[in-house]
């Protein structure tokens, strides 16, 4: 490749950056967290679960940039390892609801009728159901742990996607190109999945990014009530919750994991905004 081509490429890239600043910035943040998560064993200065009675509750210092907790564990290392769990929570916690909700919403919106009515009533019920009762009971029934949390999230979370997609489907299935597809003798699955779904899904993709934030917070809320990730695993929500008894004496225990949640959330919402701009949601 010639120098000229490279220069052109970099100009194009810069233009893309300027245009998609939000998206790029958001994706950059997410990528950073991803790298941190992947590189945790290398980056983290200490073992995240190793307790050290000699350095309990130490304020941030050169040795421990984020300080230590009441077991003398290094907060920085825990925050770094926490990225693994929290990214996983955000991704899996969104993926399942997304897939389930999208599928259900597509069918309900496209076919309508009794199935649609039943599904929408179910959606109403879940929406009206106190989230906490549902969450706590599902976790209690399934036993504690991340997988229960995912299942609970999926059982509750699909509703939003189903609603979004269904609403889009109702509009799109009467659109001219859907009618055109019918008039051309296309099969229903083809119309649903090849023609309508790709056009209906943009809103859900954008929403999934803010949903990721909500899932992270849901995790934190469940942790506050004591049913989060099992100790001694480092997870930001749990760290924040555990640190609450030290808020007045050792602020660093809550602040750094809290800030990490904020940054990750910020990354996700930037990507969401960026995708929205790109997919022409706000126009």
């Amino acid at each position: 490749m010639s120098i000229l081509a490279l220069a052109n490429l970099s100009i194009a890239w810069r233009k893309f950056l300027a245009k998609r600043l939000t998206l790029t910035l958001g994706a950059g943040i997410l990528l950073l967290f991803f790298l941190i998560a992947v590189g945790a064993p290398v980056i983290a200065p200490y073992d995240p679960i190793l307790q050290n009675g000699d350095v309990r509750l130490q304020a941030p210092s050169l040795l421990h940039p984020f300080g230590t907790d009441n077991f003398g564990r290094d907060i920085l290392s825990r925050v770094i390892w926490g990225a693994r769990i929290d990214l996983q929570i955000a991704i899996i916690g969104v993926l399942f609801p997304f897939v389930i909700g999208t599928t259900v919403g597509t069918f309900a919106g496209f076919f309508g009728g009794i199935a649609d009515t039943l599904i929408m009533r179910l959606v109403d019920i879940i929406l009206a159901f106190p989230f906490l009762v549902l969450m706590l009971s599902i976790i209690a029934i399934l036993g504690p742990g991340l997988s229960s949390f995912y299942i609970a999230m999926a059982l509750v979370g699909w509703v939003s996607y189903a609603r979004l997609i269904r609403a889009q489907m109702l509009v799109l299935k009467n659109s001219d190109y859907a009618v055109a597809a019918v008039s051309l003798g296309f099969s229903r699955p083809r119309i649903m999945f090849r023609h309508l779904l790709p056009n209906a899904i943009a809103g859900s993709i954008v929403f999934s990014m803010s949903d990721a934030v909500l899932v992270l917070l849901g995790g934190a809320a469940v942790s506050y009530l004591g049913l989060g990730v099992q100790p001694p695993v480092a997870e930001w929500g749990v760290m924040v919750a555990e640190g609450q008894s030290f808020i007045t004496t050792a602020w660093w225990i809550t602040l750094f994991p809290g800030l990490s949640i904020v940054c990750l959330a910020f990354g996700f919402s930037m990507v969401g905004d960026g995708l929205g701009e790109m997919l022409g949601m706000h126009e």
């Binding site: 009441n70 036993g143 004591g226 049913l227 100790p231 609450q244 008894s245 007045t248």
Partner: protein, 479 residues
């Protein structure tokens, strides 16, 4: 003078003493209802309450109480009939949570207004102690029947204690007012008391720091050091009967082996737990009978912390790759911290621990079902006598020795005998034997004792509770 405000975690659930077994309720009952016999401030002696004096027949079956001249808050006299009614009610009432504890009572009769005669089915050394329980407080038969049980439980119309219930704002606070008809009314300095529910620990402390509450109870260990520095506050540390211990399921594989249990005991650094979890406030426990309680054996054996030896013992017992399921109570900060700590300590002895955090109700189920290997629980005494706890923990009773499934017939017989032994000296010896045997068997692992920690503003004096938890608000002064 003045109204004392006390911040606590949860609000009361009822004012019918027989229908609750929770400290939140009992501690308020003690302010509102008086008992025949009280436990003193040190928690080691009984002292007269509404019963001025009492005699016990030689066979230990018949108790005769002389009821003091006292009035309910509505002005009616407190009679032996009321006392008999209350005692029989806790035994017979359908809604009573305590009937099992009073099944030993055969009859209770008021022979006259001031004389109550109670006949037991069998002799019982701890019986007098059980009369000090707030749940068996003396209620006014007339008031209760006039108001109806439910209404009375909402807002008692007659109080026998230092205060009457003026208002109960559910979920928020219980408002008590001085009872002018209380027999020790001149002892009471406060005009009233408000028990206010502030669930969040930080918020509760902040309320006292900001001067919006006079006192707060349940101070987290982690906050003590800092609160002591606040010039406006006094931090109180009152001896309690609380003991935290590690339950072991004796029915699970290697855990049935005494050597393995002893190894586990040696693998645990209790001092480190005291330092980390209680911030040095607690004290390493050496017996299931808490320090300062009746018949506590101070010289009981204490396993040394020796992870190497523990490892060797485990290997010898063929349990070198021991894997244990540890049920942790979610939402309990202290429990979770102990779990994290123990996990690492046991690791050093080659024991792998899986933490299973579940909510407290569920952990009960798992413990009862034997669905666990180890788990940390705690116990506080309701009565002064060690019999209650001993029976539950070692009496081979219906609860499988507090879910440990520990079996030792010698202990079983000893516990039963001690209950009947009326001679204090002999009883003490028996309890020492129980304590040493249990320790040797490692029925569970004693971890630490911890005090009640409360804070109050500097203008509050004489705010304290006895080891059984009773707050002596009749002595409290608000300046």
């Amino acid at each position: 003078a003045g109204v004392l405000t006390i911040g606590r975690r949860e609000d009361s659930t009822t004012f019918d003493p027989i229908k609750s077994a929770q400290n939140v309720d009992n501690w308020v009952f003690s302010n509102v209802f008086d008992v025949l016999i009280r436990v003193d401030r040190t928690g080691t002696k009984l002292e007269p309450g509404l019963a001025e004096s009492w005699t016990i027949s030689d066979d230990g079956l018949i108790y005769t109480f002389k009821i003091r001249d006292a009035k309910f808050s509505d002005g009616s006299p407190i009679t032996a009939a009321d006392a008999a009614f209350s005692l029989l009610r806790i035994r017979d009432n359908e809604g009573s949570l305590w009937s099992d504890s009073y099944k030993i009572v055969d009859t209770a009769e008021a022979t006259d207004d001031k004389t109550l005669v109670v006949k037991l089915k069998t002799p019982s050394a701890p019986f007098l102690s059980t009369l000090a329980l707030p749940n068996v407080s003396v209620l006014s038969k007339k008031a209760l029947e006039e108001a109806g049980e439910e209404a009375f439980a909402e807002l008692p119309t007659a109080a026998s204690g230092a205060f009457t219930v003026k208002e109960w704002r559910r979920g928020d606070r219980v408002i008590l007012e001085k009872n002018p008809n209380f027999w020790q009314a001149d002892r009471v300095k406060l005009d009233g008391v408000e028990w206010i529910s502030v669930p969040d620990d930080n918020t509760r402390m902040l309320n006292v720091q900001a001067g919006q509450l006079d006192t707060a109870i349940f101070v987290p260990f982690s906050r003590v050091e800092e609160l002591k520095k606040d010039p406006n506050l006094t931090v109180h540390s009152d001896t309690s009967t609380r003991e935290d211990h590690l339950l072991i399921n004796h029915e699970h594989g290697a855990l049935g082996n005494k050597d393995v249990r002893q190894a586990l005991d040696m693998a645990i650094d209790k001092k480190a737990i005291v330092d980390t979890v209680t911030f040095g406030i607690g004290e390493v426990a050496n017996s299931y009978v808490p320090k300062g309680s009746l018949y506590h054996y101070a010289d009981n054996y204490q396993y040394p912390y020796d992870p190497e030896k523990a490892k060797a013992m485990l290997a010898e017992a063929g349990a070198s790759d021991l894997m244990l399921d540890y049920v942790v109570n979610a939402g309990n900060e202290v429990d979770e911290q102990i779990a994290v700590l123990l996990q690492q300590q046991l690791q050093k002895a080659g024991v792998t621990v899986n933490l299973q955090k579940v909510d407290p109700s569920q952990s009960w189920d798992m413990l009862v079902a034997g669905d666990y290997d180890i788990s940390v629980m705690y116990w506080t005494n309701d009565i002064l006598d060690p019999d209650q706890k001993t029976t539950f923990v070692l009496g081979h009773d219906t609860n499988m020795n507090y879910m440990t499934r520990y079996k030792n017939d010698k202990i079983k017989n000893l516990v039963a005998a001690a209950r009947l032994e009326l001679d204090p000296k002999k009883r003490e010896d028996m309890y020492i034997e129980v304590q040493t045997t249990a320790k040797n068997d490692v029925h569970w692992i004693d971890l630490y004792y911890s005090p009640y920690i409360n804070i109050s503003r500097k203008n509050i004096e004489n705010f304290y509770q006895n080891p059984l938890g009773r707050f002596f608000l009749e002595d409290t002064v608000k300046n």
